[in-house]
Each structure stands twice: as C-alpha cells, then as structure tokens.
Amino acid sequence: MTASTDSPRTLFQKIWDNHIVHSEEGRQSILYVDLQLVHEVTSAQAFEGLRLAGRRVRRAERTIATADHNVPTSDRSLPILDQISKQQIDTLRDNCKEFGIKHYDLNDPNQGIVHVIGPELGYTQPGMTIVCGDSHTSTHGAFGSLAFGIGTSEVEHVLATQTLLQFKPKTLELRVDGELRPHVTAKDMILYLIGQITTDGGTGYCVEYTGEVVRGLSMENRMTVCNMSIEAGARAGMIAPDETTYEYLRGRQFVPQDFDAAVKRWKQLPSDAGATYDKSLTFAAADIAPQVTWGTNPGLVVSVDGKVPTPGDFEDATEQKTAAGALDYMGLQGGEPITDLKLDRVFIGSCTNGRIEDLREAAAVAKGHKVSDRVSAMVVPGSGQVKQQAEAEGLDSIFKEAGFDWREAGCSMCLAMNPDKLEPGERCASTSNRNFEGRQGKGGRTHLVSPAMAAAAAGAGHFVDIRDWK
C-alpha cells in the first residue's frame, strides 16, 4: 500500500488510490483488481471472448470460481435434470480447467454462493478490490474492501488484463446512531435504509456505513448490510475494518501467512478523522422496527406493525403509478395490516441471509414450533461449510422437526433459476434481496424479511411481529 497523503481520506479514497494503474483526465481510470469471483451464469461468454481473441487469463491465481445460481439443492448424487443448467455448469468446469482457474465444483465441500465462500475461505480481505459478474458483490465491502458487480464484457476485461476501467463514484456516508432495539436485525436496518433513500438513492455513489450500530455488528451482519447496497442503486457498500473483521479472518484458509503484518496494514484503511463524503445522511437506530417489503422493489417497505400503503400515500405521479402496479401484482388492495398477510411459502437462505448466524437466528425462532399447514418452508444454507456447521450444531434437526425442508447449498429460490420456485400467485416470506416481479417464479409474490421474521411467519402462516413471538 502507498503511503497516505496529507489530506484526510475516506476508506474508499484510500482503496481507490492504492489501485490506480493509470489515470488520465476525462477517461476512466484503469483500476487493478485483486480478486475476481466467477460463477456459471455470467462467465461463459467472457471465456468464449478470450478464446475468440486468442487471449489468456492474465493472473489465474487471482480468480476463483464456483457454480451457485443454477445448481439443484436436492440430492447432489443424482444427475442434474435440467440439461441447459447442466451445460452451463459443465461449461464453467471446462473453462476453469482450460484457463487454470481454481474451481469449487458441485461436490466440493467448500462449494456455495460466491459471496458466502469468498469471505468464509479468507479470500476476501480488507483493502482489496473485488469484482464479480453479480450485483451482490457489494457483500464483500463488509471487510473494508471495494467490491462491486460488473457485466460479462467486464468479466472478460478483468480476466484478460486483471484491471477494470472505472469512473470514480462519489461517496455517500450512511450513518446509523444509537442501538438497534431488541429483535431488530441488520436485515431490518438495511431494508429501512433502502426505504428511506429509495431504490435509486445510492446511484452513482459508493456507500460507507458508519455509526455505533455498524461497529457493533458481527461480520455476517455487516455482510447482510453491504449485500443490499445495490438495492439502493449504489456501486458498492463498505464498512471500515476493525477488530471484529480481523478476528473473523484470523485462521481462515487463504488469509496472508503473516497475518499480524497484514492487520497492521489493514489498520491504515479506516477513514481518517476529518475526511469528508460527497453526501452524508444520519439515521437513528431507535426508529427502526422489523421490516417487511410490500411491493415489487426493495425500497417499498414498511414496519411489521404498519399497513400496506395505498397509491394516495405517495406524492408524485410516477410513484403513485409504481405503487398501483406493485399492489396489483402483489394481490393487495392497500390498507391491509402487514400481520394479516397470509403466506404460502417461506424461503430462508441466499447471499443476503444464508450464513450460519442467519440460520441460528431462524432456528432459535423455529425451535419447538411447527410450520403452519398452509406453508411450505425451505432452508438453503449459503455454502457447504455453512451446512456442515449447522448440522454440527443440530440446527438441521430443529428445522426438520419444525417441518422445514433442509437443502443443499446454492442461490436457490432467491432467483429461482433452479427447480426451487414459486407458483403463480403464491405469497412468500423470503430472506433474500429482491422482490421484483417474477423474481422467485413467474407470478410469485415476494416479501423480504429477516431470518427471524421468516421463521416466525412460517410457524404462524402469516406475518407476525417478531417482538411478540413466544
């Protein structure tokens, strides 16, 4: 890392400065990429591009790959029935072999969602630039790295050059002061923030989350927060590294061998006193209640003790039209108490909430309860390691006894590219990140919530205020 300059800099600015390979006025800077994560859905065309141009992968050791989006979450010893999915998974395997890239294949114990396995294996580290052909790459910003999603043309660019052309984003500080109230989670906090700044409130910005609440969050909770930065339109989301970060990373497989020296470097990263952001917004943690989305983008969210809004609750014509369309798609009139909404399905998993702490949170709620007769509920661990850990702790037994389906690792019903999907009209409480139309299956109706809220909803058959759960 380069020596710090005199004027105070933000975490973002330091990482940016440290990775500039070349910059010219009026052009995108050439930014060095420390780590690229690759999955099956957005990479085949990039590898094909390299082949057609006769190019090689510049630094194969800076790329890791796994299949996650398409993979079945049922018995892995059985063949994949969807032949097109199988072809995409096979193509990734072949490409990794041809170009010499480390690949965590379906039967590898470390296979899982890219944004779960990167941190868990210690690939994700403070101060890094990290990219992936997936918008939820912002997850890795939880470690104080600059991490963001890119398109397939850019995946190819990074494979060929280990760099990316980037315009410098502006910086946005989202500060949350005080303490979260009991039963209010990191998921509720990020949903609340997106509701406040709206689904495009972060466009053009790299967000840094600051404040007492953020300092108190575990690494996994920080990942949940940074993961959903893209749902506010932000290029990236990040949290300064601290002791919580270093303790999480210590001992993981791919962290630097001289770990203490690395920590010493990482301690230079947090924003300097007096560093300024292009924009800063402050929120009070005490204002945040458990959240439930009611519409078809993550910014359409209310507190669990609230009601579904009506178009008349919105001021401008475009918002009213959006609300009316969302209500229609969601099969809602507007005005219903959230806790009256009856559910057909519950999904616990995804790169947002598929980690061990999420499963512990859900299991603690599910323990001693039964999934409602009207609900079909599934738990999909974010990785093979998460699954193994959960089973070692007996969480799988709690879920199974309660009537949840316990699955293999993958993206699963977060985007329903595999056989896990909603039927038209089904209403689902989901711990994932997107409630877009058809996201979990054509005609499916998704409400985003925390793992605890999802588990309670599975038990009751409708949303319940987790603060009242016994």
């Binding site: 050439i30 060095y32 957005t42 995409q88 398109g151 466009t203 475009t318 139309e437």
Partner: protein
C-alpha cells in the same frame, strides 16, 4: 464492438419507473452460453400471456411499436441484477438508443459495451418526449453522437451529454481490452510493485 455514430428510429414509450433487468430478461433465459439470440425473450413475462401468446396490452407488442429502435423509459431503468443479458436482449431485439431520466449504474455501463447509446435527460425533457410520442403517430428521434444532439422533426432538439471517452469508443467501436493493453507496461509495473 459495433460502432454508433448516428441513429434515427421509431420511438416506443414504456411508462414505468424502476424497470429491472429481471423484467428485461427473466432468469430462465440466462442459461444460454451464447451472447446472441436473446431478443426473442425480451421482457418475456410482460410480453407473453400465460398460454405463451403475445400480450396485446404490452407496449412493445402494439402494432405501432413494430420496428421501434428507440426506447423511451422512466427513472432508474435497468436496476437490479448485473446481467449483461439485458443489453444483449435489447440490442438483439433492435434497440440502439434508450432514453430515461436516470439509469442504474451497471446497466448503463453495460450498454456502452454493446454499441447501444443510453441517454440521460431531465425529468421534464423525458415528460416532453412522452407527450410527443403520444401526439405524433410514428414518432421518430435522431440521436447524433458525432454532433451530440437528440432531435425530432417537430422542433425538439437538445444537446447530449456523453462522457468524451465513452463517446470516442462508441463512435469508433473500440474494444476496451485492446485499449487497456496499450498500458500493459503500467499493469506489469503495478504488479511488480505490489508483488
């Protein structure tokens, strides 16, 4: 990459905010390993009825939209997933220009990699274009990237703000990777310094 210099085309208006890339190209079509052929799946869930027949109410299925190559949209177009399949599908369908008050970041960037021009205008200008598109049958717009103007034949004209280097690449159909390799010595020097 296909170059973009100037384009005149039929406008189709899509009066919806926050159109996400899951709508532009739903997940079931992301399993292909090719870059082409996505056009027929564009906006699939909106464009098709449950029995698979075309939805006559969908904007792009209306007879007057046939042959449209300029998409007039509302704010935050292309939000959500980073899937480049979205611009691939729009381009394959025949779109060359997309107009909106704002675009999602990754989508905006992806358009330039595929020879399409995303144009950001003010809310007022977009409202005006929606009005004109409704008023004039067969409404066309011309985006001239060389002159940096957007105009119609009914008196509308505005300057386009396109970042100069992006404009240069699009006008010449330049390949980013080739351009970056012109600085390969600097990449090697960076790697040597950070080994």
């Amino acid at each position: 990459m296909k170059a973009f210099t100037t384009h005149t085309g039929l406008v189709v208006a899509m009066d919806r905010a926050n159109v996400d890339t899951d709508q532009i190209i739903p997940k079931q079509f992301l399993k292909r390993i090719e870059r082409t052929g996505f056009g027929e799946f564009l906006f699939w869930d909106w464009a098709k009825l449950d029995d698979g027949s075309p939805n006559p109410d969908f904007e792009l299925n209306k007879p007057e939209a046939t042959g449209a190559s300029v998409l007039l949209a509302r704010r935050n177009f292309g939000c959500g997933s980073s899937r480049e399949h979205a611009p691939w599908a729009l381009e394959d369908f025949g779109f060359r220009v997309i107009l909106a008050p704002s675009f999602a970041d990754i989508f905006y960037n992806n358009c330039f990699k595929n020879g399409m021009l995303p144009i950001q205008l003010s809310e007022e200008q977009i409202d005006e274009l929606f009005h004109r598109a409704a008023q004039h049958a067969g409404y066309e717009l011309t985006a001239d990237l060389e002159a940096c103007t957007l105009s119609d034949t009914h008196g509308f004209s505005t300057e386009l703000e396109v970042q100069p280097f992006r404009r240069h690449c699009l006008l010449n159909g330049l390949d980013d990777i080739g351009l970056t390799f012109e600085h390969e010595d600097k990449i090697s020097a960076y790697e040597a310094a950070h080994a």
